[in-house]
C-alpha cells in the first residue's frame, strides 16, 4: 500500500517544480555530495607492530608497578569457620538464638603491620547478589522518608504480628552480626584490647545522603510502630547506643552490609585501627587473639567466615589480579 501512496507524493513535488522552471539540481553541499572533509585512518604494518610493542611495554611497566605495590601489602586472614565449630553447631539450631557463644582464635604476627590497619570480615559462599535478595530493601525507608514503606521488601516485609519491619527486607535481615574484638597479647599476662574505630567504614555518600534516620527527637520513637527484623537480636535504634551519629539507619556496620557485594565471596570493612598508644605505628609484631562473639550462622549453607587484617597502598586492596594480568601480555 505505501508504495502506491509514495509515488503520488513524489510526482506532485516534481510537477510543482517543473511548472516554475526551477532547476532541480541538488545542492552542492559537502554532506549531500558525501564530500565531507575527513581524516582517513591508514596504518602500515610497521606502525601496527610498533603500536603493539608500545602497548606491550606499557602493560609490562604498569604490571610491575602494580605487582610491587601489591607485594608491599601485609595481610592476615584467619578462617574461623572450623575453629569455632562448636559455636557453628550451636547456631545451626534456631532455637538457640539467645545463647551466647564466644570463640577465641590466637595467632602470631611475625612482622609488624605499619600504617593504617583495617579489620575485615570475609564471607565465603554468601550470595548477596541474588536477584530477589538485592531487590529486597526499601530505599524510601532507609532514606528516612517513610519508615513504614516496605513495598519492595518481600519476603521480610512485616513481622508476624503485622507490623512493618524496619529496616525491612532480606538484606537487612541477614546482616552480619558477629562481634570481633582483637586482643594484643603483650605478654602472657597483659592482654591489651586493640583500639578500633567503628565509624568511617562506609562511603560518605551512603552515610550522609543515602541513609538517613527518620526525623524525630528520639530515635526509638521514630521507629514506633515498626518491628525489628526477625534475625536481629535488637532493634535498629539500638545498633550503637553510645554514638547517636552511628545509630539507627546510619550505623556504619549496617550501611556497609547494605551495600551488597557483587560476588558470593566478599570481605567487608568492619573496623579501623585506632592509632593510639602502642598502636601509633600500626600493629606491632607479636601474639594476638580474636575474641569472636559467634552469632552469624553460615554452616547451614556451607558458607565460611574469616577475619582479615590488612594494610593498604595507593591501589587499594591486596589484589594481585590486575598486576598479574598486566604483566601477562
Amino acid at each position: 500500500m505505501s508504495e502506491k501512496y509514495m509515488w503520488v507524493t513524489c510526482r506532485t513535488r516534481m510537477k510543482r517544480k517543473c511548472q516554475n522552471y526551477e532547476s532541480r539540481l541538488p545542492d552542492n553541499t559537502a554532506v549531500k555530495q558525501q564530500q565531507l572533509p575527513a581524516f582517513r585512518l591508514q596504518l602500515t604494518a610497521s606502525e601496527i607492530l610498533s603500536g603493539f610493542f608500545a602497548i606491550g611495554l606499557f602493560c609490562l611497566g604498569m604490571g610491575i608497578i602494580l605487582l610491587l605495590s601489591a607485594k608491599s601489602i601485609k595481610e592476615v586472614e584467619i578462617n574461623y569457620t572450623e575453629k569455632c565449630a562448636t559455636c557453628a553447631k550451636l547456631r545451626e539450631e534456631a532455637t538457640n538464638f539467645d545463647k551466647e557463644c564466644n570463640c577465641s582464635i590466637s595467632f602470631y604476627l611475625p612482622q609488624k603491620m605499619e600504617g593504617n590497619v583495617y579489620l575485615y570480615y570475609k564471607l565465603y559462599g554468601f550470595y548477596q547478589n541474588l536477584y530477589r535478595y538485592i531487590l529486597s530493601r526499601s530505599n524510601i525507608q532507609l532514606v528516612g522518608a517513610d519508615v513504614k514503606d516496605v513495598r519492595n521488601c518481600a519476603p521480610f516485609r512485616t513481622s508476624d504480628n503485622g507490623l512493618p519491619i524496619a529496616p525491612c527486607g532480606a538484606i537487612a535481615n541477614s546482616m552480619f552480626n558477629d562481634t570481633i574484638v582483637l586482643w594484643y597479647n603483650f605478654n602472657s599476662s597483659t592482654h591489651i584490647r586493640v583500639p578500633m574505630v567503628r565509624t568511617e567504614t562506609a562511603w560518605w555518600t551512603d552515610k550522609y545522603v543515602k541513609f538517613q534516620n527518620p526525623a524525630f527527637q528520639n530515635l526509638s520513637s521514630a521507629f514506633a510502630g515498626t518491628a525489628k527484623p526477625p534475625n536481629w537480636p535488637k532493634p535498629v535504634y539500638e545498633l550503637d547506643e553510645n554514638d547517636p551519629g552511628n545509630n539507627g539507619f546510619i550505623n556504619d556496620d549496617f550501611i556497609v552490609w547494605m551495600r551488597t557485594a557483587a560476588f558470593p565471596n566478599f570481605k567487608k570493612l568492619y573496623r579501623r585501627l585506632h592509632r593510639i598508644g602502642n598502636f601509633t605505628e600500626g600493629l606491632p609484631a607479636g601474639s594476638y587473639s580474636f575474641i569472636i562473639n559467634y552469632n552469624f550462622p553460615v554452616s547451614r549453607f556451607q558458607g565460611q567466615k574469616a577475619v582479615v587484617l590488612s594494610t593498604l597502598t595507593w591501589s587499594g586492596g591486596s589484589s594481585l589480579f590486575l598486576a598479574l594480568t598486566y604483566v601477562e601480555p
Binding site: 506532485t12 593504617n116 550470595y127 535478595y133 522518608a145 532480606a170 567504614t201 557485594a261 570493612l269 591501589s315
Partner: protein, 1107 residues
C-alpha cells in the same frame, strides 16, 4: 466522488491505526510480548521501563515518520482536490462525481479519468500532455461525439471495471438508441495536462482510486533485499541461541537451587508459590529470556531503515547523477533496497531508449537506386552542412551532409520528389504551428519524426492535417491532398500505408515498412531496382542504421471505391475484425513500385560503451533484452562493448523447436567450445545436478575457456524456457560474456529475469525506459527506470530512476558499494555490540546463583542501544567511505566482494558472535578480577555490586566505542562528534542518574546514589577499563590490519592500471539492420476520424447519467 484520498490517517484515528500497523511487524510484536512477560512479577527480572522506553522511542520514531508522510499526502490531496473545475457551476475537484460533465480549460491538470465529449479545436481534437504518465510530450485525443451531448442528456455509459491498463479502455455510450464505441483514445487519464485547447468538455468516468493511474501504482510487489532475508534468518538463529542459553541457565539455576539455594533459605526464603527447584528453574527460563532479549536488538530494524533512508537521500542529492538537459536528478523511489545495489551480478538492459537515445537522425537514403548520404563518419565531420536556405520552413536543427541530394531535389528529379512526397504524406504525425512558419511535429515515434522532418527540410513540408486532408508545401507551393485511408502500422504487418487523392485527382497509395515485408509486395517490374536497393540496405545495416523501404502505387478510382467498400464492411464486422481488416489491407498493398529506402541512425547515449566496460570489469554481466530485431540489437551490442571483436565466438540460438534449441544450447554452445567437459559426469556442476537438489537450488559458477557471446531469439527462447532446457539455457548463457535476447515480449523479459533469479541466486537489476520493460523491472531485484524518451511508465514501477544509462555505474559502483559496505559494517557492529552487552549477564549467572541478576543498572540497559551506542553506529553507516568515489570507479574490481556477499554473511555473523562472546568474557572477568577481594585505598568498599556494574558498563562502552573507531575509516567531523560525544554523553547521564537529587526524589527507581563519584575516581577502575580495552582490541587490530598482509584478497591488491582502451568499431561481417519502428498501433485510426464502428463490449461496469 472525486475526492482524491491518498492519505491513510486523520487526526483521530492516527494513534490507534498507526500503532496497530506497527505491532503487525514481528519485531514490535515481540517486544510487546516481552513487555507483558515483564509485567508478570514472578518472572520479571528487569524493570518494566527497560523495554517500554526503547519500545516507545522506536514506535514514536516510526510514527513520526509515518505522520510526516501522511501530512505530505494530506497536503498533496488538498492541493489536488482544491483545484477548481467548471462543472457547469464551478466546483472543487473533490466534489466532482462520476457521471458529471466537466469543462476543462487550457493548461488544466486532469485529476480523474475523463471521457472527452467535445472541444474547442476544429475536428474536435484535444491536445494533452501526458508527460506525467508516459513521458510523451503530447497526444491528441479525439472527441468526435460532438457538442450536442452537452445540452440534452439522457445517456448511459457502460465500460469496463477499473483496471490498470493505461493503454486500454473499452466502453460504449448509449444515447438515443444509438451506440457509440468508446476506446482509450477518447479517455483522458488523470495526471494529463490540457494543452493548446481552449476548452473541452468531458464526462467523468473513473475517479480517485479507480483511475487508471492509481490502479497502476499499487500493483508492484514489495521487494526485500538479501540482507533483509539474512537478517530475518539471523534473528531466528539468535532466538534459538537465546532459547538454548536460557535453557542452560535454567538448568544451572536448578542445580544451584538444589545445592545452595535450598540451604540459603534462612536468608532468602523461596517465594510461597515456588514449591521445588524445578518450578523455580522454569520461572528462571523466562526471567533469563527477558534479560537476554537485548541480543535481538529492538533498534535494529529502525536503525536499518534510517540508514537506508539516508543512503537513498544521497542518491537523490547526487549532482553527478543529475541530467542538466532534462532537469532530472536521480531518484531513489524505493528506500529499502540500497545495499542490494552493491551486490548486483546481472544487469538486464533494454536497448531502445536505454542504451540508445531513441533519437533518430535521418542519415542516408537510397532513392531509385542512387545512394545519398556520407559513407564515413570521419569525413562527415569536416564537411559542411547542406544549406537549406531555399526552404523557409526548414527545421534549423536538421543537418545533412550530402549536397547531391539537395541538388537532385532542386533539379526536380521526379523520383526524389516522389520519395519525399511519400515521406511527407505517409505518417501519423501531427503538426502544430503556433507562430507562422514555425512548425512543431508531434510524432508517435522518433523514427517517424525524423523521416517527416527530413522531407520537410528537403522541401516537402507537411504543414497541417485534418481528419480528411493533408496540406503539404511542396517546394514552396501549398497543395492539399485528400486523405482517403490510413492503413495503420501493426507489429504483424510491419508497414503502414496511406491512400491520398492528389489535387490532380490521382489516387496514390504510399507505403513504408520493413524491407523483408515490402520486398514481397513489390511489383515484379522493379526487381533490378530492388537488388540495388537491397545492396544499399546492406550497407546501411552494417553501419548500424535502421532502415525502412518506401514504395508507392497508383490506384484507379473504381478499384479504390470497390476496396473502400470492403474496408468499411470489414471495419464494421463484429467478429474477427482485425483479421478481416488486415486481409483487406493486403488486397491493396501489393504491386508496389519501389521508391527507395531510408536509413536512420539510432544514437547511443553518452558514455554507454565506457559504462559497460566498467561494469564488465566489476564482473557484472550485462544482458540486453530487446524487442528489436536481432541485427539491430547485435549492432548496438557491438557498438556499446557488450560484444567485442576479440570474442572467441558468438553463438546464435534460433532453433524453432525444443530439440534444435536444446542442441544449440547444449552441444554447439557449451560442449563444443566453451567448456568441452561440461557434459561429462566428472564435471562438478553435472555431478551436483545429478544429486537432484531441491527445487530452489543454485547453479554454481562455471568458467568457460574463453570469452563468448550468445544471441537468442524470442521464439527460440520460448522453447528454451520450457522444462529442462531452462537449465541448459542458464548454464550456457551465464558462461557467456554478453547475452543478447532479441524479439522479446515483455513477458519473456520478465521470464528471463526470473530464470536467472531462480537458478543463480544472484542479485539482478533490470534497467529500461518503456512500458515493455515494466514487467522485467518489477521482476528483477532492483528495477531502474530511465526517465527518457519513450515513456515514464517504466519509471513509475521502478525502484530507482535517472535519465542516463551511464549513471548506472555511479549508482552501482559508488552508491551501491558504499551502501552495501555501510550496511554490512553496521550489521556486524550492531550484532557485536549487542552480544558483548548481553552475554556478560551469562557469565555473571555463574556467580549469582543463576538468579537472573543483571550486571548493569537497569537504566544502562534502557539507554544502551537507544542513546549511548546508537549515534556512533548511525554515523558510521551514514558517513563511512572505505575508499572514495574516484577509487571505486577507477577500480571496479572493488565491487566484487559485494556480489559474493563477503562482508556480511552467516560466517561473518558467527565471527561477530564469537567476537561478542570473547569481548563479554573479557568485559566480565577483568572487572571481576579487579574488584574481587579488593578495597579502596581508604579501606572502603569497591567490590560491591553497584561499583562492579559501573565498572563493567563503563568498560563495555569504552570497548564498543573503540571498536567503532576501528571500523570507521573515514573520520568526518560528524563521526567525531557522534563517537566521542556519545561517550561523553554517557558520563554526563551517569552523573545525572546517580546524582543525589534524582536518587533522593525517587529512591526506589534510581538506586545507584553516589556510585559514579565513589568509583570513577579509583585508579583500579581505570586500570581495569584500560586493560579491558587492550585485551578486547589487540586481537581485533591484529586480525584486521595484519590479515591483508598475510592473506590478501583482491580488494587489497588492486592494480594501478585503469585506462580504458579506446576501441574503434570495425564490423567484420555485414549485418542486416531492419525495420525497427518504435511505433504504437492504432494511431492512424485516430486521424481518420468519424469512422467508428460498433463492436461487442464487455458489460461489466455501467453507470447512468441524466440531466
Amino acid at each position: 466522488c472525486l475526492l482524491v484520498k491518498t492519505s491513510k490517517y486523520n487526526a483521530l484515528n492516527f494513534l490507534p491505526m498507526n500503532l496497530f500497523e506497527q505491532f503487525q511487524r514481528l519485531a514490535n510484536a515481540y517486544f510487546l510480548f516481552l513487555l507483558f512477560l515483564q509485567l508478570i512479577p514472578q518472572i520479571s527480572s528487569l524493570a518494566w521501563y527497560t523495554t517500554v522506553i526503547p519500545l516507545m522511542v522506536v514506535l514514536s520514531i516510526t510514527a513520526v515518520k509515518d505522520a510526516i508522510d501522511d501530512v505530505k499526502r494530506h497536503q498533496n490531496d488538498n492541493q489536488v482536490n482544491n483545484r477548481s473545475v467548471l462543472v457547469i457551476v464551478t466546483e472543487k475537484w473533490m466534489n466532482v462525481q462520476v457521471g458529471d460533465i466537466i469543462k476543462l480549460e487550457n493548461n488544466q491538470i486532469v485529476t480523474a479519468d475523463i471521457l472527452l465529449l467535445s472541444s474547442s479545436e476544429p475536428y474536435s481534437l484535444a491536445y494533452i500532455e501526458t508527460a506525467e504518465l508516459d513521458g510523451w510530450l503530447s497526444q491528441i485525443k479525439i472527441t468526435e461525439l460532438g457538442l450536442l451531448f452537452l445540452f440534452f442528456f439522457s445517456g448511459e455509459v457502460r465500460c469496463e471495471s477499473p483496471n490498470n491498463k493505461l493503454d486500454r479502455f473499452t466502453g460504449i455510450l448509449m444515447y438515443k438508441g444509438k451506440n457509440y464505441i468508446l476506446n482509450h483514445d477518447r479517455l483522458i487519464l488523470r495526471g494529463c495536462v490540457i494543452r493548446n485547447t481552449d476548452w473541452c468538455y468531458g464526462l467523468v468516468i473513473f475517479t480517485g482510486p479507480d483511475t487508471k493511474v492509481m490502479q497502476n501504482s499499487g500493483k508492484s510487489t514489495f521487494k526485500r533485499t538479501h540482507i533483509d532475508h539474512l537478517m530475518n534468518v539471523l534473528v531466528l538463529w539468535i532466538f534459538l541461541f537465546l532459547g538454548c542459553m536460557c535453557f542452560l541457565l535454567a538448568v544451572g539455576h536448578y542445580i544451584w537451587e538444589n545445592n545452595k539455594g535450598y540451604y540459603f533459605q534462612d536468608y532468602l526464603p523461596w517465594e510461597d508459590y515456588v514449591s521445588s527447584s524445578v518450578f523455580s528453574a522454569t520461572l528462571m527460563f523466562w526471567s533469563y529470556f527477558i534479560i537476554l532479549n537485548t541480543m535481538v536488538p529492538i533498534s535494529l530494524y529502525v536503525s536499518v531503515e534510517i540508514i537506508r533512508l539516508g543512503n537513498s537521500f544521497y542518491i537523490n542529492w547526487d549532482r553527478k547523477m543529475f541530467y542538466e538537459p532534462k532537469n532530472t536528478p536521480a531518484q531513489a523511489r524505493t528506500t529499502t533496497l540500497n545495499e542490494e545495489l552493491g551486490q548486483v551480478k546481472y544487469v538486464f538492459s533494454d536497448k531502445t531508449g536505454t542504451l540508445t537515445q531513441n533519437i533518430m537522425i535521418f542519415n542516408k537514403c537510397s532513392i531509385n537506386g542512387t545512394l545519398y548520404g556520407m559513407h564515413d563518419d570521419r569525413i562527415r565531420r569536416n564537411k559542411e552542412k547542406v544549406d537549406f536556405s531555399y526552404n523557409k520552413l526548414a527545421d534549423p536543427k536538421f543537418s545533412f551532409y550530402d549536397k547531391t541530394l539537395v541538388e537532385a531535389v532542386k533539379r526536380g528529379d521526379r523520383w526524389v520528389h516522389l520519395f519525399f512526397l511519400s515521406l511527407s504524406l505517409c505518417h501519423t504525425v501531427i503538426s502544430e504551428e503556433k507562430v507562422e512558419g514555425e512548425l512543431v511535429y508531434q510524432a508517435q515515434s522518433p523514427d517517424e519524426g525524423a523521416l517527416v522532418t527530413a522531407a520537410r527540410n528537403f522541401g516537402f513540408v507537411f504543414r497541417s492535417r485534418t481528419s480528411e486532408t493533408i496540406m503539404v508545401v511542396e517546394m514552396g507551393k501549398a497543395r492539399i491532398y485528400q486523405l482517403l485511408a490510413i492503413l495503420d502500422f501493426s507489429n504483424v504487418r510491419k508497414r503502414m500505408s496511406v491512400i491520398v487523392r492528389t489535387p490532380e485527382n490521382r489516387i496514390l497509395l504510399f507505403c513504408k515498412g520493413a524491407d523483408t515485408i515490402i520486398c514481397e509486395l513489390l511489383h515484379p517490374s522493379c526487381r533490378s531496382l530492388k537488388d540495388i536497393t537491397m545492396d544499399h540496405l546492406d550497407d546501411f545495416a552494417s553501419d548500424g542504421l535502421r532502415t525502412l523501404m518506401v514504395a508507392y502505387r497508383e490506384l484507379d478510382s473504381a478499384f479504390f471505391q470497390d476496396w473502400s467498400k470492403k474496408h468499411s464492411e470489414a471495419c464494421l464486422s463484429l467478429e474477427d475484425r482485425e483479421n478481416k481488416i488486415s486481409i483487406v489491407y493486403e488486397e491493396i498493398e501489393r504491386d508496389l513500385m519501389l521508391l527507395g529506402a531510408t536509413a536512420i541512425e539510432d544514437k547511443l547515449q553518452d558514455g554507454v560503451p565506457e559504462t559497460i566496460l566498467t561494469l564488465n570489469k566489476a564482473k557484472i554481466k550485462i544482458w540486453v533484452l530487446t524487442g528489436d530485431k536481432q541485427e539491430t540489437a547485435v549492432n548496438i551490442a557491438y557498438a556499446c562493448n557488450i560484444f567485442e571483436d576479440e570474442m572467441d565466438e558468438i553463438f546464435i540460438v534460433e532453433g524453432n523447436n525444443d530439440e534444435t534449441v536444446g542442441g544449440e544450447l547444449r552441444y554447439e554452445g557449451r560442449t563444443a567450445t566453451m567448456k568441452p567437459d561440461s557434459l561429462l559426469e566428472s564435471d562438478p556442476v553435472n555431478s551436483y545436478l545429478t544429486t537432484k537438489p531441491q527445487p530452489p537450488f543454485k547453479i554454481p559458477e562455471e568458467v568457460p575457456n574463453g570469452s563468448y557471446g550468445l544471441i537468442i531469439n524470442g521464439y527460440s527462447l520460448a522453447h528454451a524456457l520450457e522444462g529442462n532446457l531452462e537449465l541448459e539455457l542458464v548454464r550456457t548463457a551465464c558462461m557467456c560474456k554478453g547475452v543478447i535476447c532479441c524479439r522479446m515480449t515483455p513477458l519473456q523479459k520478465a521470464q528471463v529475469v526470473e530464470l536467472v533469479k531462480k537458478y543463480k541466486k544472484a542479485v539482478t537489476l533490470a534497467i529500461g525506459d518503456g512500458a515493455n520493460d515494466v514487467s522485467m523491472i518489477k521482476a528483477a531485484h532492483i528495477g531502474v527506470g530511465i526517465s527518457g524518451q519513450e515513456g515514464m511508465q517504466a519509471m513509475l514501477s521502478s525502484d530507482y530512476a535517472f535519465s542516463q544509462f551511464r549513471y548506472l555505474q555511479r549508482l552501482l559502483l559508488v552508491h551501491g558499494r558504499w551502501s552495501y559496505n555501510r550496511m554490512c559494517k553496521f550489521l556486524s557492529y550492531f550484532f557485536y555490540k549487542n552480544f558483548s552487552f548481553t552475554l556478560v549477564h551469562v557469565w555473571y549467572a555463574f556467580y549469582s546463583g543463576f538468579s537472573a541478576q543483571t550486571v548493569y543498572d537497569t537504566w544502562f540497559i534502557t539507554f544502551y542501544n537507544l542513546v549511548y551506542t546508537s549515534l556512533p553506529v548511525l554515523g558510521l553507516s551514514l558517513f563511512d567511505q572505505d575508499v572514495n568515489e574516484t577509487w571505486s570507479l577507477r577500480f571496479p574490481e572493488l565491487y566484487e566482494p559485494g556480489q559474493h556477499n563477503l562482508y556480511f554473511n552467516k560466517k561473518e555473523f558467527v565471527k561477530c558472535l564469537l567476537h561478542g562472546i570473547y569481548s563479554s568474557f573479557v568485559l566480565f572477568f577483568i572487572p571481576m578480577g579487579t574488584v574481587y577481594n579488593s578495597v579502596r585505598k581508604d579501606g572502603k568498599e569497591i567490590s560491591d555490586y553497584q561499583s562492579f556494574s559501573l565498572i563493567v558498563q563503563t568498560s563495555l562502552l569504552c570497548v564498543v566505542t573503540m571498536q567503532i573507531t576501528l571500523e570507521t575509516t573515514y573520520w568526518t567531523m560528524i563521526s567525531h562528534v557522534f563517537t566521542w560525544g556519545s561517550l561523553g554523553f554517557y558520563f554526563c547521564v551517569l552523573f545525572f542518574l546517580y546524582s543525589d537529587g534524582l536518587c533522593l526524589l525517587f529512591p526506589d527507581i534510581f538506586q545507584f546514589l553516589g556510585v559514579a563519584r565513589n568509583t570513577l575516581n579509583l585508579p583500579q577502575m581505570w586500570l581495569s577499563v584500560i586493560l579491558s580495552i587492550i585485551l578486547c582490541m589487540l586481537p581485533v587490530i591484529g586480525y584486521q590490519f595484519l590479515k591483508p598482509l598475510f592473506w590478501p584478497v583482491s580488494v587489497d591488491q588492486v592494480s594501478a592500471t585503469g585506462i580504458y582502451p579506446n576501441r574503434i568499431h570495425d564490423p567484420l561481417t555485414s549485418r542486416r539492420s531492419a525495420y525497427a519502428f518504435s511505433h504504437k498501433q492504432g494511431f492512424g485510426a485516430l486521424i481518420t476520424s468519424g469512422k467508428t464502428v460498433k463492436a461487442k463490449l464487455p458489460k461489466r461496469n455501467s453507470f447512468h447519467y441524466k440531466k
